[in-house]
Symmetry: C2
């Protein structure tokens, strides 16, 4: 019996540790483990200058790569190593370990859903910046809430942030922000990659944002598979196309029945990043009676400025009516991801009399630090009318 226990113990704990053993005891000076490493994993590491250090045990592999970073070097001890040539940009970056051509999540890291599957993430610390860090302030909860979708004929779940104190007073109701991920991500991404809970906790604790509920659901309504004879672009246009319907007919009613939220348009906002920004534009601008605040973070939606009178059912035709209804129309973008597109949209809308806020995140690309910053800018603006 003792042997059985020992076998279980060796199988479950020792073998993985041995096969992924990374502890060398000697680390490049000034480096720290990636904050997303699992307990006991010392690599990847990040230097004070933002350089990244990867180390993977794969004595039998022919080639090991780190995605976006290149081929690793095989060492005599069976480990493969890679040090980035340049410091990496601050913030959160996806990566995969590619073992003889197969992209996998790093066995030593916490997985993140991005790039259409579960991959790994490395966090380059941003010195002196703590708005997305856990602080000694009251913390809200991120809860998983299940519902049955008649549209999709399946059980679905959303993640719901409720602010600190939510369950102390059952008489109080809160405004709601519906917050969407990008293509290739899912309903877990805003809390995991985006640290939206700490951003909201900190904003609310400092009195910058109104206490609100934030709902994150899965916008990947159709799996992306081009039909025979269809181009990827044609297929892409169908991907996520049904999200407005499921949001309005199922997610919002589910949230309003199961959480203490205010249900009028003045207390309902929607924002999304990248593809979720397009979903936000499509949902809110076609349903302006239901949303008073709109945010596109690196939004993939391009509103044709030469057709402003007719697009989205003519919602922009009467700019005064639009401005009266939409209290914040936020257009955010990273400076390193061709911001001229978003800037042009913002300027064009302003020229047509449509109020909007343009925000450009300095030094960041189409990545989560841009979107953390966008949320940190957008959330304080909403529900203050």
């Amino acid at each position: 019996m003792k042997n059985t226990l020992k076998f279980i113990f060796i199988s479950l704990v020792l073998l993985p540790l041995v096969s992924n053993a990374q502890q060398t005891g000697v680390y490049p000076p000034g480096t720290q483990p990636n904050e997303h490493n699992i307990n006991g994993a010392d690599y990847p590491r990040i230097g004070e200058d933002g350089k990244t250090y990867f180390r993977i045990y794969a004595p039998d592999a022919k080639k090991v790569e780190i995605s976006f970073r290149g081929e690793m070097t095989k060492e005599a001890d069976g480990f493969w190593t890679l040090v980035s040539k340049e410091p990496e940009v601050v913030g959160f970056h996806y990566y995969q370990v590619i073992i003889d051509g197969v992209g996998t999540a790093d066995p030593n890291g916490k997985p993140f859903f991005g790039m259409g599957k579960w991959v790994s993430g490395i966090e380059i610390p941003e010195k002196g910046v703590d708005y997305y860090k856990a602080k000694n302030v009251p913390h809200g909860l991120v809860s998983e809430s299940w519902y049955y979708s008649d549209i999709r004929n399946e059980w679905r779940h959303c993640f719901v942030y409720t602010p600190a104190g939510y369950d102390k007073d059952s008489g109080k109701k809160y405004p709601v922000l519906y917050l969407q991920h990008g293509m290739g991500e899912n309903e877990t991404s805003w809390a995991n990659q985006g640290k939206m809970n700490f951003i909201m906790d900190n904003l609310i604790a400092e009195g910058k944002a109104v206490p609100m509920v934030v709902v994150m659901d899965n916008g990947n309504i159709e799996v992306f598979k081009p039909e025979p004879g269809e181009t990827p672009d044609q297929a892409r246009m169908k991907f996520g196309a049904d999200f407005s319907s499921i949001l309005i007919n199922e997610i919002i009613p589910h949230v309003e029945s199961n959480f203490r939220v205010l249900t009028d348009r003045e207390n309902r906002a929607m924002a999304g990043l990248s593809w979720g920004g397009l979903q936000t534009f499509n949902t809110t601008l076609n349903n302006i009676d239901k949303f008073a605040y709109i945010g596109g973070f690196s939004g993939a939606g391009q509103i044709p400025l030469d057709k402003l009178d007719t697009v989205y059912g003519g919602v922009f035709k009467d700019s005064k009516a639009f401005n009266d209804k939409v209290h914040v129309f936020f257009i955010g973008i990273g400076s390193e991801e061709h911001p001229e597109r978003a800037k042009g949209l913002s300027d064009g809308l302003k020229a047509a009399g449509i109020n909007n806020v343009y925000y450009e995140s300095p030094g960041t690309a189409h990545e989560f630090l841009t979107w953390r910053r966008c949320l940190n800018e957008f959330a304080p603006m909403i529900f203050k009318k």
Copy 2:
């Protein structure tokens, strides 16, 4: 600019799908995808008879294996395949894809924390059994709740199940079950692998269990690393040794300050699986003034029957006093994991006058189906005194 978007789209979505393309359109008859596959992934699959079918795209790998199941066969199209020789036992089983010796989570599946890292899971359906399925009943929430640990000097989080209706009535308080995972697992395992939320939802909806709060935290308090000169067994005994202290001094106060729970011993239970069962025995039996219900599910704790008068501070010495205080002492085990150990413990305690409930899960081993069943048996017994 359109090209930029297209590049982002191709990078984030198309490439992963192409490189992991699994869609063949022709599947082994009668098979269904594993319920934990990500959207669009068709493998692994499970046959009606419980046989499993694995398929991995790795044209450049020399050898691909599925852990516990063996080596895959390379096909002409760059895919590797494996069909289990025998049907697998019903329930949840861990697996890894081993690419040229490197154990990885299946890129096509949802990751589960087990075996000391993030790995994959396959679910063999159990016909006619639905106590752990999502049903059309009111659903509770599983929430992530953060706190700062002075003992560990770090931010930690627990997952907290609150039953349906919890936030409708802020006057009502609930009893609490502290529920621990096994070695190599973590605070996410009971909800992900164990489906504890659906088990509790269904038991509560049927009136079998009292509505209760369930708290799941990380019991891996020390990373398992043998010190120089230390045997693995010696190191193992230190692993998790501090859990009682963090549970009693930090987790329980955090939960009692932040959730509407009852705070007397009559309304506090603890249970755990495997290593978590040992932590449960060590915590509750040394602190019987704080817990009235105890559950060990395949518990790794072996109480020496010949020293009953002295172990755990002599808690068993006066059996009547013990029986008056501990209303349920549950000892569960799977029939395929040497149940004689647990049965002997139960019988020996009974012979010494210590009331306890013995439950043996038929046909299951040291795996999560044993523990789902244990929870389904244990939860209805508690908080009914």
